[in-house]
């Protein structure tokens, strides 16, 4: 039972990590919390629903790729329309964050107004399949989400370490102006950054959609991924991974725990948001925060 809880926790934690990395990537370079990321993740899930269920019957893997690409492009457009002018004027990051909140709320309401508040299910890819290992019964989707999230983050890491644009992104996390003086077109760089964050979000959105449902306010769950990013230290890639996994694990453990005969599962969100408040009091920079270690 305990090991099974750990596996569930790691699985949901890895999806949190996938989303948290998107928050951290953007924060590391542009220094603001991009709260529109949740809306992009939701739209990623809706893309999967549209191509797998509503309009076409595209199989899971191509649909996953379409969601990633689509969410990446949407994130790119989000930056171009809502943030780029503020960024070029060097507006304080608070303004960018407020703009992001505006984007998040209007996109969510756009979904309510057009597609409606109905909950849609994605085809139960793997969801019903289970693997038995000894006494353990593990959902294939859990394994799949964990493995794919881990692989995707590993690929992102390689991009940041090995490619020219990746090194430039890491450099921009320290000094964006200097990066431009070396010949890097910042519009392109930030575009790549948002595409990467968005496509990771698209993948997370699909996993969430399969595990839960697709509905306009599902982006709210991404707030927890944001908490994960803060726990790990906003702007740090390892921090986002550790924070996301940790939050997933703790949530899974709280859900199965009980106190004096009462199950704590209803306290799950009290717990995860409470952790955020307490952590910010004692360690506001998170585990891998920028004041402790270099960003990304």
């Amino acid at each position: 039972m305990f090991i099974q809880t750990i596996i569930t926790g790691l699985s949901i934690g890895s999806v949190y990590a996938l989303m948290a990395v998107g928050y951290s990537l953007v924060f590391s370079v542009l220094n603001f919390s991009n709260f529109a990321h949740g809306a992009i993740i939701t739209l990623g899930a809706y893309i999967a629903w549209a191509v797998m269920v509503h309009y076409l019957q595209v199989p899971f893997f191509p649909a996953l790729l379409l969601s990633m690409g689509g969410a990446g492009i949407l994130a790119f457009l989000n930056e171009r329309i809502a943030y780029s002018t503020l960024r070029r004027r060097r507006a304080p990051s608070l303004y960018l964050m407020i703009s992001a909140m505006g984007v998040a709320i209007s996109l969510q309401n756009l979904l309510y107004a057009t597609i409606g508040a109905k909950l849609y299910a994605l085809p139960p890819v793997f969801a019903m399949d289970v693997v038995h290992i000894g006494d353990l019964t593990i959902s294939k989707m859990d394994i799949f989400a964990f493995v794919f999230s881990a692989l995707t983050i590993a690929v992102l890491h390689l991009i940041l370490i090995r490619t020219k644009v990746g090194v430039a992104i890491r450099a921009a996390a320290h000094d964006m102006e200097m990066v431009s003086v070396l010949g890097v077109n910042l519009d392109v760089l930030v575009g790549v950054l948002f595409f990467l964050a968005g496509s990771l979000g698209g993948m997370a959105g699909v996993f969430m959609g399969v595990k839960y449902m697709v509905y306009p306010s599902m982006g709210w769950i991404t707030n927890k991924a944001y908490i994960g990013a803060v726990i790990g230290g906003l702007g740090s890639l390892p921090g986002a991974i550790v924070g996301g996994l940790l939050l997933g694990l703790l949530e899974a453990l709280v859900s199965v725990s009980s106190l004096g005969g009462t199950s704590l599962s209803t306290y799950r969100d009290v717990f995860s948001f409470g952790i955020l408040v307490i952590l910010l009091i004692f360690k506001p920079t998170g585990f891998f925060g920028r004041h402790v270690e270099d960003k990304l």
Binding site: K164, V167, R170, A171, M178, V181, L182, G183, V184
Partner: protein, 274 residues
């Protein structure tokens, strides 16, 4: 003419007129120095030349072609900056810092050749390639900043206060390197508070005062110019010592005291402090 600047006016906001009708030129193969006090507009000029600041009026031309004030276009036009305080990426390795300097280049072989050239110029960098730039000493960091700027294979290399914060021995080393770079065919535009070193290696030089170019001439000429000597080479210091001695009742001669303009020259004290 490799680089010409015509009637540059730069403002911070509405009120602060940082550069006033600044015009000058740099010929192919030259070392040109611009000296000036703190706040004279030297760094403003450098940032404008690389497109980080947009001039209100005036033009920047490379080989008679106007350069639009956008950083990556300036680099593409052959202008490369070693900024004040170096601005390296401390959490990136020495090699990553160097390669970022070659960001716009597609010729891998040429980039490797230029990296070798940088290692020849600063052998210590080759030993430190996989080390984080933040772990280098101040002098090594300045070398890396110069190397990084050279990696774009610039036509003109701009250096903003390369001697800042360096021990005298290292200052000499950096200025020798600048001369080596010039000798290998890269044109140099140098702004410095360290007027003595800057004028000694310069073919030509300009004096920038409160956003305006007030003097120009050959480097050696300016070294002997009384106003420059008083305001930027610390000759006034001599006067002050003499004055102080007089105050203590010692006899003093004023034979070699500079002309009266010297004592009123702006910021002369600033330089004495340096």
């Amino acid at each position: 003419m490799l680089l010409s600047v015509e009637g540059l006016n730069v403002f911070y906001g509405e009120a602060i007129h940082a550069l006033r009708d600044v015009s000058f030129s740099v010929e192919e193969g030259e070392i040109v120095s611009i000296i000036g006090a703190n706040g004279a507009g030297k760094s403003t000029l450098m940032w404008t030349l690389v497109g980080l600041l947009k001039p209100k009026s005036g033009r920047i031309l490379m080989r008679e072609k106007p350069v639009r004030p956008i950083p990556h276009l300036s680099v593409a036009a052959g202008i490369s900056l070693v900024p004040e305080r170096r601005r390296l990426f401390p959490h990136l390795t020495v090699r990553e810092n160097l390669l970022l300097g070659a960001y716009l280049r597609k010729d891998r072989k040429g980039v490797e050749e230029d990296a070798e050239r940088v290692y020849q110029l600063f052998p210590i960098l080759k030993e430190r390639l996989s080390q984080y730039a933040g772990t280098l000493s101040g002098g090594q960091q300045q070398m890396l900043a110069i190397g990084r700027a050279l990696m774009s294979r610039p036509k003109v290399l701009l250096l903003d206060e390369p001697s800042l914060g360096l021990a005298p021995v290292l200052v000499d080393q950096v200025f020798r390197a600048i001369q080596d770079i010039a000798a290998s065919g890269t044109t140099i535009l140098l702004v410095e508070q360290n007027a003595l070193e800057a004028l000694q290696i310069a073919h030509r030089a300009y004096v920038l005062e409160v956003g305006r170019i007030v003097l120009e001439g050959k480097g050696k000429e300016l070294l002997n110019n009384p106003i420059v000597r008083a305001a930027y080479l610390g000759v006034a210091q001599h006067t002050e010592i003499l004055l102080e001695r007089t105050n203590h009742g010692e006899s003093a001669t004023f034979e070699d005291s500079p002309p009266t303009t010297a004592t009123t020259a702006p910021d002369s004290k600033m330089f004495i402090m340096e």
